[in-house]
Every structure is written in structure tokens, then in C-alpha cells.
């Protein structure tokens, strides 16, 4: 059973009407439809922000988690009925869909700059990625560093941001054999996304470089360097 319908009033420039479903006994999942592009992630971020803003008056709602084309909304089922939680979600959908500037078209969009040492021991998959696309490694670096990326959402690990905007010429599947340990700061490609590993962990992304920037520090006021909606560019450095 799905809430909402495709025939609803279209307030979002051709995107599907969101559906709202219970997810377990203590959460909702608001599904925005197919994850086509960055617009869906921006929509999810606006919706999560609207729900977050309302939590001061509805403390039974937990921290919303935006993803590529959805928002996960936990709530305390002993303090709030499912119907009331759905009403909060509906209200946030209406609020966040009102016309107004979005992060996508706002003029002030200073990118977060991440210095990267490409290739060599820091980017052991750079040559494979280049070979897969008939490019030279330098061309991969040029393409990767020339693009402007947007943080679609965070997940997988503390401070791990999935970045959209990878040039189509660099879209590369994950490695067949994931590594047991990817060093912190590694810059990788998987499918149409690029990302930086905030900490050492197992992973299957194609590693093309590495940064010394600390992506996540729980003792900082803003623990994560990246946040949903931020723009990012990579700056090649050679300081080995």
C-alpha cells in the first residue's frame, strides 16, 4: 500500500509525487521516485531540512536521513501514532516543495576544496580506470579535478559523502574484489559516484588518489567536512 499518487498536484517540475510508507514500527520512508539525477537528492535534502526544522515542536520525530531520492524519518511509536507521523511528513513535503531558491541554483556555492595526490601508491586503481576508458592516467586526473561535485547524501561510514557529478567518461564499476582495508583519505570511484573514505575500512571503490584532509572528526563543532548539498572540487597536488 502506497500513499500519494502520480495524479497529485505537480509542484516539483515534473518529478513524481512522493510516497510515504511505514518502515518497521518506528520509522517512515518517504520515497521520491527514481533516483535520476542531483535534483532528487536536493529535493530530499530540502524535505529533510523541513522535517528537522519541525522537530522542536514534534520531539517524537527523530533525525531525518536524506538519501539519493528518499528521506528516512524515525519516530517514537509510543509517543506518536503512525497517522500523526505521516501528517508531519505530508506537511513537510508541502512546505519544502514551495517555490523558492534551492541550493542548486543559489549563486553562493563556494566549493569545498580537497587536495588530492593522484595515482601511485595513493591511487592504485588509476591506471586500471584509465585503461577501462581508453584514457591516459593524466586525462583521468584532469577530468576528475575539472568537475564540480555535489554531496548527494552521507552514509556508509561517518562523514562518507556520495558525490554526484562524475564526468560520464569516468563512470566505472566497483572492483570485483573489495579491499580488506582502504586507507583513510582515499579518493574512489564506483559507478557514477566519487567519494573520499573518511577512515580506514574495507571497500570496493576504484581508488585513484588520496587526501590528507580529515573528513570526519567527532570533536569538531561540525564533525563532518561534507554535508548534504555541499559542492566539492578536487585539486591535484604533488607533495610526495
Amino acid at each position: 500500500m502506497r500513499e500519494g499518487s502520480a495524479e497529485g498536484v505537480d509542484r516539483s517540475g515534473g518529478l513524481a509525487e512522493p510516497t510515504i510508507e511505514p518502515f518497521g514500527d518506528a520509522a517512515l520512508l518517504i520515497d521520491l521516485g527514481p533516483a535520476t539525477d542531483q535534483a532528487q537528492a536536493v529535493r530530499a535534502q530540502a524535505l529533510a531540512a523541513a522535517i528537522e526544522a519541525g522537530r522542536t515542536t514534534t520531539p517524537a520525530i527523530g533525525r531525518p536521513v536524506p538519501a539519493h531520492a528518499s528521506v528516512f524519518v524515525p519516530f517514537d511509536p509510543l509517543e506518536m501514532t503512525l497517522e500523526d507521523a505521516i501528517a508531519v511528513a505530508r506537511s513537510a513535503i508541502a512546505t519544502s516543495a514551495l517555490p523558492g531558491p534551492t541550493a542548486l541554483d543559489s549563486g553562493d556555492d563556494t566549493p569545498i576544496e580537497i587536495p588530492v595526490r593522484y595515482g601511485g601508491p595513493d591511487g592504485p586503481d588509476l591506471e586500471n580506470v584509465a585503461a577501462a576508458h581508453g584514457l591516459r592516467p593524466e586525462e583521468v586526473v584532469e577530468l576528475h579535478a575539472a568537475a564540480r561535485y555535489r554531496v548527494l547524501f552521507l552514509g556508509f561510514a561517518p562523514g562518507f559523502g556520495y558525490l554526484g557529478g562524475l564526468p560520464p567518461a569516468l563512470v566505472t564499476p566497483r572492483r570485483d574484489n573489495p579491499r580488506e582495508r582502504v586507507p583513510a583519505g582515499s579518493v574512489g570511484i564506483a559507478g557514477g559516484h566519487t567519494a573520499v573514505y573518511p577512515l580506514a575500512m574495507p571497500g570496493g571503490w576504484q581508488l585513484i588518489g588520496r587526501t590528507d584532509i580529515v573528513l570526519f572528526d567527532p570533536d569538531r563543532p561540525d564533525p563532518a567536512l561534507l554535508w548534504p548539498g555541499a559542492t566539492v572540487r578536487f585539486v591535484p597536488v604533488d607533495d610526495r
Partner: protein, 346 residues
């Protein structure tokens, strides 16, 4: 500087500081963490006069070995890991105990409670475990390497401090009496209906349907807890679900207890340290009332998955809350806390 409560002689298999976790940072990819068995977290704390969500030690299968550096009141809840004072008495689970400086607390892994006996014991210290708040919680975030004691499991030589956080409703100083919890409340049993229908050594976990179709096939399967089990999740072994039942989907936020089924058809139930988002199909979600049971699943245990509806799940959670409140009231009465508070100056 006061003496710490304990010095760690041996950390055991995996002993971490846990409280109610940090659910407010999931939008940045930070796992919730917190006690894998939240029922036993609350029971342990109530037995020493702490708030139910205070920080405790979560011990796994083989507990640690700890030497008391000062006189200290502790309690034990969750799985019985065979606690005893070296050269001295056994310490039953579901009670508080007074230890004297110099006592060595050891665990022998329990008395073979069998496949349903659980794997996680909880040790509360009156006043809580004294570690700093990180992102609003004292829980250890093992995937992120922060929180708790230096972001990792306890190891030899670590010092465990007692905190000052005695509940306002309890005594204003370490309690002198020992309190017990009625035995039927020590263990997070499944509901009565389920117990009546269940026979044998399997553990029942109640689910409600997830966002992706296929809960009927999931519930029909015969599952056993695999050897891949940790605070992030539990892999279920058994006949894999038919091709096309599992699979990938667009990544979205996930609840604790979600039953993910990757393309290989082998279910994974997400635990307290689970990733905040994921892209595998979710066929069911363990009800909130049964998360304590999930946190106690022993490798090799047979697991029976039972589908119920959401209204039943919320009723079961309300029952848990009421049972906890009743147990807490009984402990307070038995321990005579109000009397202790009255005479706290004497």
C-alpha cells in the same frame, strides 16, 4: 583524583562502553550505536540506581577480567557470562553486588545456557561509566573509532572510572544494600503467544514487512545464526532465498533491525552499529520490542522469523515499557531507596 572503579586485567572477546547511543547524527553517516540489548542496559542501570540509559560495560561471550581499585557497587544483566569474584563467590545476573577494593571480577563464559542463552552481558557501575560525551553519547562507535573508552574495546591496563550520575530518585551515594530483579524479567523473552506456540531450542524474532516484497519467503525459511555476527549485523545461514527475491535498490536510510537481502539471497539483520544507509532490498524489520533478543542471538542458534502486523508490534513495545516500569518500581521498593535518601546525611 579519586581511584578508578576498575583496572582491566584482560578485556575479553569484546567489551565496550555503551549507553543509549547517538541517534541524532545519522544524517552524517554516524551509526546509532548503543547497547545491542537495550532491555538489559536498562535493567542493569536500574539495579544500581542509575538512569536507565546510563553508560555501562557491554561484554561479549567471554567477559573481561577486572580488578576493583575501590569499593564499588555494580550490577549484572543480560546473558549470564559466569561472573565470580576470584577465590570467592559467584555473582548472579539480575542483581546488584558490592565489591571491595582488590576484588578480582572474572567471567568464565557462562553455564552453558545453550543456543538460547544469549551472548551479551551488561555490567553497570553505580554512577555510570565515566567517559566523555562524544556527539551526545558515551557509547563506543567501533566503526568510527570514537566514543566510549578511546573509541575501542577495553584492553589490559585500561582504567574504568565510575561516573557521578546517580539517578535523583535513588540514593545520593553508593548504595549499601543489594537489589535483585525478579527472574522472569531479567531475560528479554518473546511474547506469551509466541512462547506458547514455540517448541524446542529456536529463538523467535518478530518482524513486520519491509518496503520490498518477499516477507512470506523470508518467514518460511529455516534460518540459523551464522558465524558472521557482530554489532553491525548478523548473517543468517540457511537455504538462500530464490533468485530475484534479494537484490539491490537505490540507497536509503535504514532502521536497526532491518532484514536486508543482497542478490545472493542470504539475509543480514542490521545491529546497533549498522550503516545509516544501504542499497539492498529490505524484506522485513525486527520489531522494536524484539531488538533485545536480536542483540543476544548466539552463533549457531536456530531462528524462527514470525510476521506480525504493526499494531501488534506497537502493543508489544508498550508491554516492554510497562514491564520495565513495574520491575523498576519493585526494585526501588525492595532496595528501600527512599529510606536511604532520607538518611543520606547519616
Amino acid at each position: 583524583m579519586t581511584e578508578p572503579a576498575f583496572e582491566v586485567v584482560d578485556g575479553g572477546l569484546l567489551t565496550t562502553v555503551q549507553d543509549e547511543g547517538r541517534p541524532a547524527w545519522t544524517h552524517l553517516g554516524v551509526p546509532e550505536s548503543g547497547a545491542a540489548d537495550p532491555w538489559s542496559l536498562a535493567v542493569a542501570n536500574l539495579l544500581v540506581g542509575n538512569e536507565p540509559g546510563a553508560a555501562v560495560l557491554e561484554m561479549t561471550v567471554t567477559g573481561p577480567s577486572l580488578v576493583a581499585r575501590s569499593d564499588v557497587t555494580i550490577s549484572l544483566a543480560g546473558a549470564d557470562l559466569g561472573a565470580r569474584v576470584e577465590h570467592g563467590r559467584a555473582l548472579p545476573t539480575g542483581r546488584s553486588h558490592r565489591l571491595a577494593a582488590g576484588d578480582v571480577l572474572t567471567f568464565n563464559g557462562g553455564r552453558g545456557a545453550g543456543a538460547t542463552g544469549g551472548i551479551r552481558g551488561y555490567l553497570a557501575i553505580a554512577g555510570g561509566v565515566g567517559v566523555p560525551l562524544v556527539l551526545g553519547s558515551r557509547s563506543t562507535c567501533l566503526p568510527g573509532g570514537f566514543g566510549g573508552l578511546a573509541g575501542r574495546a577495553l584492553r589490559t591496563g585500561d582504567l574504568v572510572e565510575a561516573g557521578p550520575w546517580i539517578s535523583p530518585g535513588a540514593a545520593g551515594r553508593p548504595r549499601r544494600s543489594e537489589a535483585g530483579w525478579s527472574p522472569e524479567l531479567v531475560w528479554p523473552e518473546a511474547g506469551d503467544d509466541d512462547r506458547a506456540s514455540g517448541a524446542g531450542n529456536d529463538v523467535a524474532l518478530r518482524l513486520i514487512a519491509g518496503p520490498d516484497p518477499g516477507i512470506d519467503a523470508l518467514v518460511a525459511g529455516r534460518w540459523r545464526v551464522g558465524s558472521a555476527f557482530d554489532r553491525v549485523g548478523v548473517r543468517l545461514d540457511g537455504e538462500p532465498l530464490a533468485g530475484g527475491t534479494g537484490g539491490e535498490t537505490t540507497s536509503h536510510g535504514l532502521p536497526w533491525g532491518a532484514v536486508q537481502v543482497p542478490p545472493d539471497g542470504r539475509p543480514i539483520i542490521l545491529g546497533a552499529d549498522h550503516q545509516t544507509t544501504g542499497g539492498y532490498r529490505v524484506l522485513g524489520v525486527v520489531i522494536s520490542a524484539d531488538l533485545p533478543i536480536l542483540g543476544q542471538l548466539r552463533p549457531g542458534a536456530d531462528v524462527r522469523l514470525v510476521a506480525i502486523d504493526r499494531a501488534q508490534a506497537v502493543d508489544a513495545l508498550a508491554d516492554r515499557r510497562d514491564a520495565l516500569a513495574a520491575g523498576a518500581a519493585a526494585v526501588r521498593e525492595a532496595a528501600g531507596w527512599s529510606e536511604l535518601v532520607d538518611t543520606a546525611g547519616g
